[in-house]
């Protein structure tokens, strides 16, 4: 280790660029993970924020965004299970928003009952906002999406599906990669989503007497009613995330970019350390000629990699924090949380020695006979 510390401290021209490159890779890794996990969290946010233990959907629905109209009468099927404590409707669908100041955009309208114990409103629509949304045509947007929605002042905000809407307040932390959410009362949503006919809903939400009963209820309902998709909260979150990342273009792109980014980061780290090791191959060749075990040289190279990884993780963390903040301010869902620092740092610290191990192949370049002219 003493050799590794000495070389890192004194050979700044050799290891400085390596540390900078690996720090950049650490930053890339952390930002990629942050983006990926934020996207995972955001696509399933309405499910996670609701107080429902069960989500009942059309049999073809595997993800929240795919919601299709189902008969409202299914509610009795669910409410009839003795373990179910409460049930309600939940409307969701795409609509065109014609902004007050001109231009239009696609939005996702979510309509929920605004009662005090509303399952759909849950932590999404705070009690103070529920009262305001009870007015016909009253809508809310997420605080981070107000500019995109054209909700610049309270009151008339434009038209959704040709119906006037009034902006009355906002939710927090409900960003979206695609069309932003517009929240409203379920009665308002019926007018804004004409494709959902009377007697239909998009989802039926249910709460059990105890959350642990949800799996049993779901199994019973699936057995009894074919063509009706029944998900527990966690199943629907997982299904929505998997569907988004594997079936949507945006998800696939992000998944691809994350994988490519991580591979590039690993490759750059590996090549950088390889170059740094190869640069000292003549010195190692002298030791090799004198019979010093290669194992000792390899351990020294690994220690160098570990130190480079440690320093890079320390330098890369604040850099990734600032990049995440910038992305967040630009409206890109990117959350930088303490555990992410730990994961990113661990990945970098782990990646560096792995790269160091790969870079050990540069020791094969050692050919003491080459030292003889």
């Amino acid at each position: 280790m003493w050799y590794a510390i000495n070389s890192l401290r004194r050979e700044t021209s050799r290891f400085g660029p390596a540390i900078v490159a690996v720090s950049a890779c650490a930053m890339l890794l952390m930002v990629q993970i942050s983006l990926f996990l934020s996207a995972m969290a955001y696509v399933s946010k309405p499910i996670a924020a609701a107080d429902a233990d069960l989500w009942i959907a059309h049999g073809d629905v595997a993800s929240f965004d795919q919601g299709r109209p189902i008969p409202q009468r299914w509610l009795t099927r669910v409410a009839g299970d003795p373990a179910v404590a409460s049930v309600e409707y939940y409307l969701m669908g795409l609509a065109t928003l014609k902004k007050r100041e001109g231009g239009s955009d696609t939005c996702t309208v979510i309509g929920v009952p605004l009662t005090e114990d509303s399952l759909g409103a849950g932590r999404m629509v705070l009690p103070s906002l529920r009262a305001k949304l009870r007015s016909p045509g009253a809508v809310a947007g997420d605080a981070s999406e107000l500019g995109r929605l054209g909700f610049t002042q309270y009151g008339y905000a434009g038209e959704v599906s040709g119906r006037r809407v009034d902006y009355v307040g906002c939710t927090y932390d409900f960003k979206r990669w695609t069309g932003p959410y517009v929240f409203c009362a379920i009665e308002t949503a019926r007018r804004l989503l004409p494709t959902i006919r009377p007697g239909e809903t998009t989802y039926i939400l249910a709460r059990c007497h105890a959350p642990e009963q949800a799996a049993g209820v779901a199994a019973r309902l699936r057995r009894e009613f074919r063509g009706m998709a029944v998900y527990t909260r966690d199943e629907f979150i997982r299904g929505t995330q998997v569907h988004w990342f594997t079936r949507t273009k945006a998800g696939l792109m992000l998944l691809f970019v994350t994988v490519i980014g991580s591979v590039v980061a690993l490759f750059v780290t590996s090549q950088t350390l390889y170059a740094a090791t190869a640069a000292a191959r003549h010195e190692y060749a002298v030791l090799d000629a004198m019979g010093i075990p290669r194992r000792r040289i390899a351990v020294a190279v690994l220690w160098q990699s570990i130190w480079v990884g440690l320093i890079a993780a320390i330098l890369g963390t604040p850099a990734s924090y600032f990049v995440s903040k910038m992305l967040d301010q630009a409206g890109v869902p990117s959350r930088f949380e303490p555990w992410l620092v730990v994961v990113g740092a661990l990945m970098t610290i782990t990646t560096a020695p792995i790269s160091g191990l790969i870079s050990l192949r540069s020791l094969q370049l050692i050919e003491p006979a080459e030292l003889l002219h």
Partner: protein, 230 residues
């Protein structure tokens, strides 16, 4: 005459294949004795560095055998040959090849700690002792970049001598030094032979070294054309 410590028999080594095949060393046999300073001289391309590589076990001969201390070097496994080099061989190369991040003392310590598993304190003491013997007692804390060419070469010699090798191979160790500093290096190597009993084998094209040599081998076109024992 003393007993030979290293015997080479009918060494031949060629590079390339077909029409581009060049025979660098052709049917060379020689013996190197303990406590003697042997020098091999010859013009560029005469095959002297290849011969050094063959004798030191860094290059496998196409034909012939190398037997230091009665051991046929190329009958050993890679690990055994490495072990043999660790126990018996020291090297000095033309370009110093010192670690830029280690000071003079650490250049020697690394050999003792990594090669002989000496504890740090013992390695440090032995390194300091060697540097003092080489007249570098006050330079132990200096990095290679802070040392002159002659000092660097003396550190390189110290690095090779500190593990007390039976054989000491040096390739053009004075080529980048002025004669005064080169002479000091040659005297050090000769002392290593005479006072430590090592078999020192040096390759050079500088004929000013010859008066210091105990054995002289002259090489031309891959063949030892003349051998002079003093």
């Amino acid at each position: 005459m003393q007993e030979a410590k290293l015997v080479a028999e009918h060494l031949t080594r060629a590079f390339g294949e077909g029409e581009s095949r060049t025979v660098a060393v052709r049917d060379v046999s020689l013996a190197i004795c303990a406590g003697r300073f042997s020098v091999i001289v010859g013009p560029s391309g005469s095959g002297k560095s290849t011969l050094l590589a063959l004798l030191s076990g860094l290059l496998r001969p196409d034909e012939g055998r190398v037997m230091p201390l009665g051991v046929d070097l190329w009958r050993l496994s890679d690990a055994e040959r490495r072990r043999f080099r660790l126990e018996h061989y020291g090297f000095v190369f033309q370009g110093y090849h010192l670690f830029p991040s280690l000071n003079a003392r650490q250049q020697l310590e690394i050999v003792l700690r990594w090669g002989q598993d000496l504890p740090p304190r013992q390695a440090r003491d032995e390194a300091i002792e060697m540097l003092e013997l080489l007249g570098l007692g006050k330079k132990g804390r200096l990095l290679p970049g802070e040392l002159s060419g002659g000092e660097k070469q003396r550190v390189a010699i110290g690095r090779a001598l500190v593990k007390r090798p039976s054989f000491f191979f040096a390739d053009e160790p004075t080529s980048s030094l002025d004669w005064e500093r080169g002479r000091q290096v040659i005297e050090l190597l000769r002392d290593a032979a005479h006072e430590r009993g090592a078999a020192v084998f040096l390759v050079s094209h500088d004929t000013r070294i010859l008066p210091y040599a105990d054995c002289i081998f002259r090489m031309e076109d891959g063949v030892v054309s003349e051998e002079e024992i003093r």
